[in-house]
Amino acid sequence: MVKRLIFVLTCYASTSGLVFGQEAIDTTRPVAVDELIENQLTFDEAPIVSLDDNDVSQGISSQLTAGRDPFFSAATFNWGAARYRIRGYDNDNFITYMNGVPMDLLDRGGSSFFLWSGLNDVLRSRDNSLGLKPTSYSFGEIGGQFSIDSRASKQWKQLRVSYASTNRNYNNRIMATYNTGLTKSGWAFSVSASRRWAHEGYVPGTFYDGWSYFASAEKVFNKSHSLAFTTFGAPTKSGSAAGTVTELQELAGSNYYNPYWGYQSGKVRNSRVNKSHQPTFILTHEYSPSNKLNIMTAASFTTGIRKSSALDWYNVSDPRPDYYRNMPSYIKEDYYRNLLIDRIKADPSLIQVNWDRMYDVNLNNTETIKNVNGIQGNDVTGKRSRYIIEQRVSKVQRVNLNSVVNATIDEHLNFSGGISYQYQKNRLYKEVGDLLGGDFYVNLNQFAERDYPGSNANQNDLNHPNQIVKVGDKYGYDYDMVFHKAAAWGQLQGKWNQLDAFLSAEISHSTYFRDGNYRNGLFVDNSFGKSEVKNFLNYGVKGGATYKINGRNYVYANASYSTRAPYFQDIFVSPRTRNSAVGDPKNEKIASVESGYVLNTPKVKARLSGYLTKFNDLTKTMTFYHDVYRNNVNYTLTDIDKIHFGGELGIEAKVYKGLTASFAAALGRYYFTSRQKATVTVDNSSDVLASNEVIYSKFFKMGGTPQTAATLGLNYRSPKYWFVSANLNYFDDMWLDFNPIRRTWSAVESVPNPSDNYDQIIQQEKLKRQLTLDVYGGYSWKINNIMKGLKKSHFIYMNVGINNITNNKNLVTGGYEQLRFDFENSDINKFPSRYFFAYGINYFFSISYKL
């Protein structure tokens, strides 16, 4: 299920300098980023930061940088399979810059990795910085900041072609890159393209079809002046997999059971297909009149779409095989329940999507729609689709402007600072993806029709009543989210003989609003047009110091305090239908401290660190379909406070000649420290179902990441240009994300206490700890060694990694309690939890040729 398996091959090789003897820098790295991007597309809850170990030292030799940090390597490569998140942080606590512009998403934070998916070859020049450390290009987030420099002049001159085979979310990858390097004329060009595909990935019913392209041209006018233009994109299409319930996984005999697909005329078809393509254009100007001053100014523009498909239907039964009423457990009579179980076991297609039946319904459903588009007497007769494929579309336009200055004040002091402006507009709407045999669909809200019969409430768009829609037409909802953000920051950094210290500050102003393109029949006065504009003023300060005991031993301590605007989706309670928002949204407050010890000797590298971070006043809105209300219900949770603290250890030691041993461990505790308050609303009504209902969430653990993880690794590198390595990984303290509804008084009001049922309802599920084993090997072949007389150097690299070699298929990497609760019978098994599993044994093999 989970493709969070990260390929590593050469991370240890590069951490200790020379790789295959011939080349210090260039190794084949099927990079972590890549895998993560794809995962983000495939899974809703994207985890971790995406990082890799590509590190070009940035001149500050004072301390290890993240890329060469054994802990960091483990976190990104070895623990990816378990969806380990650094310090338990969400994505929005990390930020990525590309060629001088911030690539964060203003709507939900975090970086848009999918934009550059599949372009590993040209994204190797990076600066990774973890935690609260200062960087020269940004104030940063508390988790870390990463800067990718893909400008043509930064690309090594080479031609490189590679092929990879794997059995993960795709099966094949080809990639080709050509870089000119900086020519004598001052120009540099770089082009790269790749394609990854699978007819069926690891999980049944998934497919993958991803292309990527990249081009960069740069003119270096003189020593102090360069201008680069870069563009890239990754048109990608893939079939999704779902987290599912144990009942169906057992029936299917597989933890990778995927309810999203079914046979259509005998062929596998996935109902949940993701498509995205958002080309990005970046113009980067770098000006450094002296080695004491550098000003980088960059502008970027991104435009394009992301679509994800799903089934939609109008007043007919729910066609999803994992809908609880469609599962055997819903049948009361033992005889029939067991009969259905037997049938499913004999014919597993019974728990897959039944496309042919949906076609049958649509093909035979002739209806007359009256007064189409609100025009009296305009009646249309045809096959009205009752089942369709909807596309949830997000159409994005994003502009980023950023300018950063780095100035050397004197031999000790450095100033960095910058200003930025970001604009983003997302238009969100549904469009008809496939009518499944019918002639049209009608833009009506079936839920409102039921709740408010005989009125206009069922009109999704009163401006076009009874609208008939066909493939490609918008329907359902249609609104814009518009964001503006301006920020400025400054940082003073000092370096003395035994002490490094820094102090930095940031201030930002952000605004956003909703702009409805539909006049919803339920919210006539509050859906069409612009909402109130939400304004937020935020700031951050951080500082820290490193004491250099000697060239090999360092101690450091950093601290930060910042505020952050809440996200659009968390403030607008039901943006699909109306402009209503949390009245007085609070800024989030984040306080973080970290401290550590670093050892850096030729034989041993180690880092031991500790951190403590408090998040206060978070706001979050969760939306889910509630089949009693027959509607989307929104839980807006406020006053969320949480704490993350723990320790990190990474050691790498050269044991004997080419043999290196490594160990990394993360021991963290991430949990909520407040009782949250829930305000409950429904998409189809302005009624507030509950206001400030207390959620007994104190001390509940954060899900979605192991809070304890460790890896033990051995790596042998032969002077004959090959290496093998193995890692044993351990994951523990993994918790299921909890459903706040079950932690309310109303959920347990009628349940005897103490009782087993009471405990089941309120307790949080802890997932079983797991062990996995990964092995890697690689070989580098310089063709010139055999074919003497070749003018240029030709290389062939081969790498293979086999992950989860013991084929452990029980590693739950995540999951959640369904956001439903059976208040009537207080039965937690009516809406059981859903789980994702890490892949069993899987491999990645690549071969590349470099000239």
Binding site: V161, K237, Q264, S317, P328, G454, L462
Partner: protein
Amino acid sequence: MKSFSIIFKTLLVAVLASTLTTSCIKDKYDEPVQLPDVDPNLEVNLTIEQLKDLYKTEPVQITEDYIISGVVISDDQDGNVYQTLIIQDETGGVGFRVQRTDLFTDFPFGRKVYVKLKGLWVGSFNNLIQIGAADDGQGSVTLISASFVGDFFVKGPRGQVVTPLEIDIADLSSKYQNTLIKLKDVQFIESQAGKVTYADAVKKQNGTTNLEDCNGNKIELRTSGYAKFAGDVVPAGKGDVVAIYQIYKASNQLLINRTSDVQLTNSDRCGGGTVDPPLDTIAPSVPGPDAKLLFPGADFEDFAVFKAQVDSKFGLKPYAVSAIGEGFGGGNALALRGTPGGNDYVFSILASAQATFPVGAKYISFYVKGKTTAVDPKDLKSISINVQRSNGTNYDVFNALNLSSNALLKASTEIQSNGNGTNDYRGVIDTKDKWVLVTLDIAELDVNRTNTSTIFSIKVGSKSTFDLLIDNIVVW
């Protein structure tokens, strides 16, 4: 060695090209087409009457390989029939309890169906025979799970003609249960006719209404609160009703699939009395009791208040003035006295000024008194009224045309390409110095209930001389 490089590159290009061409991921799917219905012609060895006779005093399981066939007479599309499939043959009808709410998709009204009965149970719910999956322990049977519908029901051809049995209420008896019947010349009882709804659509509670024939025989009509038409008012007239006949204990009941099966179109009721024809066919002479002024100042008592509601974009034409003491029933009115040069907007009322409509508002009404005159008869003109739609841009049009008595106007059905109705100023107004009520039927319109744009405008035709009083613009 240069040749090596060339060979290698050629090889690479070839490999790349070939992988690319074989890597096509297709996302086109063969689409199922509509198949003609086939009749499986299963051998039928039991009649529905015989099936019902299997029930004696308590639920009994069918252990023989019995097969019945019949035609579907229930339709759950409008939500009145719920989790029930009713079929009938020449001997009678029977209902099956099925755990599905979209039976119309597979078993639409008029489809021939075979039922393989073995394994099912026959029970009785207060004397109504039901077939289901198991004994429910309370005398009747449980629902057949959706997953097993195909085990028992075999589809035959659609579109079978079902002729309801014409029968008198007095002749109904248990043997007709779950068959489609037609009651001729029946009406809802006086206290309900034209007054109550089929059920309570707001609280989602079932409703009971009563039909009677001219001999005083009565029968209940039961309607689900979840039916799409639950909130519709029952008709007042007399006529024919097609329904599924059911029994509950000792009483007779009717269940309708849809309101089009209730055709009470004759306005003569039993015993010679006539009901007022439905309001939508005659012009009211007074607004309903819950009528409200459409906007502040719509009674023109305080002209300044009225003027404050006028959209300043169009303003108020100079020939529109306050008529003190000339109002309907005394008081003041609005007078139009002059000869417009063009087809003018006399005024447009801001949407933000509109009142909260009474629940179920269907009409806008106002009183008119006076006449239009012209030297040249071809210049005689009338008034035209625009009612804005909710998008704020488009509007529907009501044309008064010739106006001499109370008038009920319907919106113009001539829709222009821009979506608006078409103004038509032809006609002459002469109320013979009496007040007449002009009523606009807005029940089916998408009236602008927002706060933006305008809601209501009065227009006049050019060149004709107007001497009109207008008063009390109300919504009801």
